[in-house]
Amino acid sequence: MSLRSEKLWNYVILTVMALIVVWPVGTFIAAALSPDRAGRPSADLQWGNFVTAWTNAEFSRSMTVSLTITVVVVLVGTVLALLGGYAFGVLGVVGDRVLFPVILVGMMISLEAIIVPLYYQFRTLGLTDTLLGVILIHIGMGVPFGVFWMRAAFRALPRGIFESAEMDGAGPMRMLWSIAVPNLMPAVYTFILLSFMWTWNDYFLSLVFLHGDNQTATVALGVFQGKFVTQINLMAAGGLIVAAPVLILYVIFQRKFISGMLAGAIKE
């Protein structure tokens, strides 16, 4: 096979695969803009479908819930990751020979293994159907990856900067916030992106814990499509609304997303 035909086949196969990936997304976007309830594509683009879907599904409420949960989880999660990563990566931790493996195990524990007692215990504590309950679980489950991720970032910093700061009399807090963190912003941004995506896209946890007014956007979308099975165009518009925040971030930060997801995978 000549180099030229090799190159041609290369493009042909990749393009076919790309079309298969794009096909469902493309028909979905076309359906979201269609005037037809069955969602058949049309040249008559109905941008108003997004407004109708937004009001019919009361997305303003569920999007606010999702946004609240996600922002709190990302903020608190990032602070905990920085503190934990700094402790395990720079200061050392009393008992870290036991504690660090225990944290690593946490990356293998899936929600299914703990959801049952979580639900029934939180019910007796009155934490089901509250944002606080879901936020606590998201944060707790995010600690292992956060500590692991930030620890690696802290260890990649040259030790000299900590030693000279110590000579100058900087305490651990000061070293963390004024010396380490400014140097770690790339790792922090990637962590923020990943935890934003994982929290926003969650379905299982909020399906179990949140109902009615407290529904997240993903769960509300599931309910919405059940009610609007015959109005495919509105259902598709609603889907795009819920997917939009992460999609926009992906378009802007695709490199950070891809490398971050890889590093997240290799942890195991």
């Binding site: 493009y11 096909w23 679980i137 379905y203 598709a236």
Partner: protein, 323 residues
Amino acid sequence: MSITQAGAAVSLETDDGGSAATGAIITRYRKGRTSHARRRARMAGLLFAAPGLLIYGVVVLWPLVQSLQYSFYEWDGITAAVWVGFDNYLSFFTDPVLRSTLGNVLVLIVFFAVLPIALGLLSAALITAGKRPGMAIYRWIFFLPQVLTSVVIALLFKRMYAPEGPINEALRAVGLDALTKNWLGDFTWALPAVGLIGTWVTFGFCMVLFIAGASSIAPELYEAARMDGAGPVREFFAVTLPGLRGQIAVALTLTITAALRAFDLIWITTRGGPGTSTLTPAVALYKAAFVNPDVGQAAAIGVVMAILCLVIAVVITRVSEKE
């Protein structure tokens, strides 16, 4: 960190330890001071790590222990729980409905793990072959499903598979009317149909993993293969595939556990039906925990899933390292 510091301390001691007694005393003094400072740092470290560790312990570790405890009881979530020993575990393997979930998982593994890895290898090989323009766009497209919410993916494909959906319309357009069906409502086709959604979502992730791995394969190996007259196919099997063993192990671990844990896609598209043809352990767990409460059974399913995930990860890692 601790190893290099200890090493520095030792070399310091041997350097001037023999020369003068005062030197030894100074060294000992320094060592004492640094180990004291280090202990203080480690105490501070514990303090810094404590908030995260505390929440993790309360929200993850403690419920994990409780899951084990729950799994030995029969409990409807309201009345008093009854100790049943290993009954919940036994029924996972003897109850025909629960046992069928394991068979379904095996089918899903083909679609969630085997196919995505094969397609991931193919696309990674094509994208890395030569430095051709436009490859970043393919990578961007193939990875896109990874960032979509599972609910949206489920809706995308509910529409694709609908009786009047794009797939059936495409079949009709080429005259294959006989093949059209309600894909997700068909006892034979529902499971492969749901499985293919997993393939669609996962293969781009595998691809990116393999592209990253391929970048660390020495270019000399490719040059040598080309010198020996290997074409792109032989080159792939002789150089790329062996070079990606580690990445394939990671991909297998993640995708097989994803097949075992499949919930969102299944719950939104089919609810485990028709019948139990697409029921997975996670869907069975959800039903047992929250739909018709048999809480102990649900906990046992969770524990079995956790153990299986752990075993899969350990076995795949061991095998990939041994060869």
